[in-house]
């Protein structure tokens, strides 16, 4: 299996740093971004498979970032992190194509499991697309 790359987006730097460190310790290749704008910049520079996105942030909020991500690459899977009663926002996110959501503070194992799930979903879709392309090419 190819190494999966995760981008963590959260405005709370203590939370972000620690989670990045913990994921790295579990051999996940992970980058951190403390705002939506930064996250989009990172996404354009390095390939990312899964984004873990805080819904509530100053500046660009989670939903806006999610929309942008989906225009950059619809295959990137997004897991929403909701910290409060904005479950409605999470639901909205799901409708916009987010993979899933988690309540903060999240259990790390649960988060890892979800990330892997998302990654699997992404690879399956990529494979499907790859097969379609081959078929096209064969047909063409």
């Amino acid at each position: 299996m190819e190494q999966l790359r995760v981008l963590l987006v959260d405005d709370e730097s203590d939370f972000l740093e620690t989670l990045v460190k913990r994921l790295r310790k579990r051999n996940v290749e992970v980058a951190g971004a403390s705002s939506g704008e930064e996250a989009l910049r990172v996404l354009r520079e390095i390939p990312i498979d899964v984004v873990v996105l805080d819904v509530r942030m100053p500046g660009m909020d989670g939903i806006q970032v999610l929309r942008e991500i989906k225009t950059i690459n619809p295959l990137i899977q997004v897991i929403m992190l909701t910290g409060h009663a904005s479950v409605e926002v999470a639901v909205e996110g799901m409708e916009l194509g987010a993979f899933d959501y988690l309540m903060k503070p999240a259990n790390l194992d649960e988060l890892l499991y979800k990330i892997q799930d998302a990654y699997k979903a992404k690879t399956i879709q990529e494979q499907k697309i790859g097969r379609l392309r081959e078929l096209e090419r064969a047909g063409g």
């Binding site: 939370f15 620690t18 913990r22 910290g83 479950v87 993979f99 988690l102 309540m103 903060k104 503070p105």
Partner: protein, 612 residues
């Protein structure tokens, strides 16, 4: 589909419910707005403090005052026209009636006056005719005068005697019951009058004979000789003539001369005797027929009609007590008063009845408004608390997330080799695990608060009653512990999932359990049990607090009734709870004994969720 996906991983949240709630915002809007539309602003203000008691019973001074005001005004506007109408009718009717009586009196006076006049004219004419057709010599022959008197009384009647008087006043001949021959009338005023005018009709007087009588005298001139034929008419004749006008019980009729002397005897002695001064002053009567109202002999007003005779200076007076004639009027008046009183009674009865009914309806409507306002206050309060809870939860949540991550990181690091050597490794690990445990606990609290924040919108979802009770108790556990209260649960494991509103049910149980905690005060136990029976789920909340009197038990489900002192309770909890449960088709009942504690039982019908 993302929703299905999330439920697969078993998150504590229920996106399915949320989706449904979000899909019908219109419903939520009407729910929120409808009470505002029908509640007057003043009510909202007065209810704003929640505990301000509004006495919505018909006996409260507010409604009693209103009732009085309405009754007073309605009666006023009904009675004033009624009395005015009645009064006017009576006044008009009595005026017409009086006029009619006047008219009758006037007519009677005129006809009887005419009769007396006619009587006198006849007598005078007859006497003149006798004088003109007979010579003095014939008159003076004995027997002739007597036969003339006989003829006169035969033809016209009313004569008492007849006499012939010479121009020097000597009574030449006389026929009649008295012996007047030889008397000389030369000095009598009537003699002077008849000598100068030719005709004289005297007032009634006593004269020599001491019987009231009147004299008619005519002068005759025959071959240079002048003699006088004189006849006497008994006053009784006049009395009889006017008697015809003495109608009814009170009618009177008599003649009065210009000097106010009664010429005939009135029917009632109070009017004065014959030849005595009359009660009536003739100078008050003018030409034609005059009707006067004068105080009668009994002191009451009598009606007097007077007409002056043409032949003598006499006034025919006819009097009548109007009360007698007014009998018809007074009957009509009594009937009218009766009708007015009956109408008034009917109006009073109807007004009081309808006003009572109206005020009762008003009280009911006000009570409904008050209840609605109370509900509104409660939901406003809950909404405000929900908002606060949400913001607090959010503020607490972020630090919790950081603590959780930092602890996790620390635990991760403990796994590294260098730390494995530390003799305090286990201590560190246990401390960190404790931190994690308590973060988890705090997280639960926060999530419960978020659950509370969301409970404002009613919706139906799949509800596990046992789970709701567990959640509720976990919310209150700390509160109970500080009061040394032990909460035990005996939850039936076979309860079905029902379609209901979890948030509202949670509020109901929250109210019941926190009431139980408050009732116990300090030290005691609460038992919460569930069971299923006959298509219903029963939830018992039993405490060993002080219990309630039967009186109190009757009142506790009313709004603003609380046993909690010093404004601790709003008195709305149970009332709101009952409202919620009744809306779900269930009931809340209470059993309590003073000193033994209370048991609240919530009965909820099992509503099977729709298959999805």
């Amino acid at each position: 589909m993302p929703v299905g996906h999330s439920s697969r991983v078993g998150l504590p949240l229920r996106p399915r419910r949320l989706l449904r709630a979000a899909s019908c915002p219109a419903l939520l809007v009407t729910h929120r707005q409808s009470p505002f539309r029908v509640c007057p602003a003043s009510h909202l203000r007065s209810m704003g403090h929640g505990r301000e008691l509004v006495d919505v019973t018909p006996r409260s001074p507010l409604y009693a005052g209103l009732q009085r005001k309405i009754i007073f005004l309605t009666l006023l506007v009904s009675f004033v026209p009624l009395v005015l109408l009645g009064g006017t009718l009576y006044w008009q009717f009595s005026r017409i009636y009086r006029e009619k009586i006047d008219e009758q009196l006037r007519y009677r006076a005129a006809t009887h006056g005419n009769a007396v006049d006619l009587f006198l004219s006849e007598r005078t004419a007859f006497l003149s005719a006798i004088a003109d057709t007979h010579s003095l010599e014939y008159m003076l022959q004995p027997g002739n005068l007597a036969s003339l008197l006989e003829v006169m009384n035969l033809r016209v009647g009313g004569f008492v005697d007849l006499g012939v008087i010479a121009s020097d006043g000597r009574h030449l001949a006389y026929v009649g019951p008295y012996h007047l021959e030889g008397l000389n009338y030369y000095d009598q005023p009537w003699f002077v009058q008849v000598m100068s005018r030719g005709l004289y009709i005297s007032d009634v007087y006593m004269g020599y004979r001491q019987v009231p009588h009147s004299v008619i005298a005519v002068r005759h001139q025959e071959k240079g000789r002048i003699w006088i034929l004189r006849a006497t008419i008994d006053s009784d004749v006049f009395t009889k003539l006017v008697r015809g006008a003495q109608v009814g019980r009170t009618g009177d009729a008599y003649l009065v001369n210009g000097d106010r002397i009664n010429q005939t005897a009135p029917r009632f002695s109070g009017e004065g005797a014959v030849l005595a001064q009359s009660r009536i002053d003739p100078s008050k009567f003018g030409e034609g027929t005059t009707v006067l109202a004068e105080p009668g002999p009994e002191g009451r007003n009598r009606l007097y009609a007077g007409v002056w005779l043409r032949n003598a200076k006499w006034l025919l007076v006819i009097s009548q007590d109007p009360a007698e004639k007014m009998l018809g009027l007074s009957q009509a008046r009594n009937l009218e008063i009766g009708i007015v009183i009956a109408g008034a009674l009917a109006i009073i009865f109807t007004v009081i009845l309808t006003t009572r009914l109206m005020v009762k309806k008003l009280v009911e409507a006000d009570r409904a408004v008050c209840e609605m306002n109370a509900q509104l206050v409660q939901s406003d309060k809950l909404a405000a608390m929900g908002k606060m809870a949400a913001s607090v939860a959010h503020e607490v949540n972020n630090p919790l997330a950081v603590i959780s991550e930092k602890t996790g990181w620390a635990l991760d690091l403990l796994e590294e080799e260098e730390f494995q050597q530390s003799k305090n490794l286990e201590e560190f690990r246990r401390s960190l695990r404790k931190i994690e445990e308590h973060v988890e606990r705090a997280r639960k609290v926060v999530h419960n608060m978020l659950g509370f924040a969301r409970r404002m919108e009613p919706h139906t979802e799949d509800v596990d009653i046992n789970q709701v009770i567990d959640q509720t108790i976990s919310l209150l556990e700390n509160y109970a512990r500080t009061s040394n209260i032990d909460i035990q649960t005996h939850l039936a494991s076979d309860l079905p999932i029902i379609a209901s509103d979890q948030a509202q049910l949670q509020q109901v149980f929250l109210n019941l359990v926190s009431n139980a905690i408050d009732a116990i005060g300090n030290g005691g136990s609460i038992e919460v049990s569930t069971r299923q029976l006959d298509g219903n789920i029963y939830v018992n909340v039993k405490d060993d607090g002080p219990g309630m009197t039967p009186d109190m038990q009757k009142k506790i489900f009313e709004p603003f009734v609380t046993t909690k002192s010093g404004g601790k309770g709003t008195g709305l909890g149970l009332w709101v709870s009952l409202g919620i449960v009744e809306k779900m088709g269930g009931t809340i009942t209470v059993e309590s004994k003073v000193g033994k504690g209370s048991t609240f039982t919530v009965k909820l019908p099992i509503v099977v969720p729709e298959k999805k």
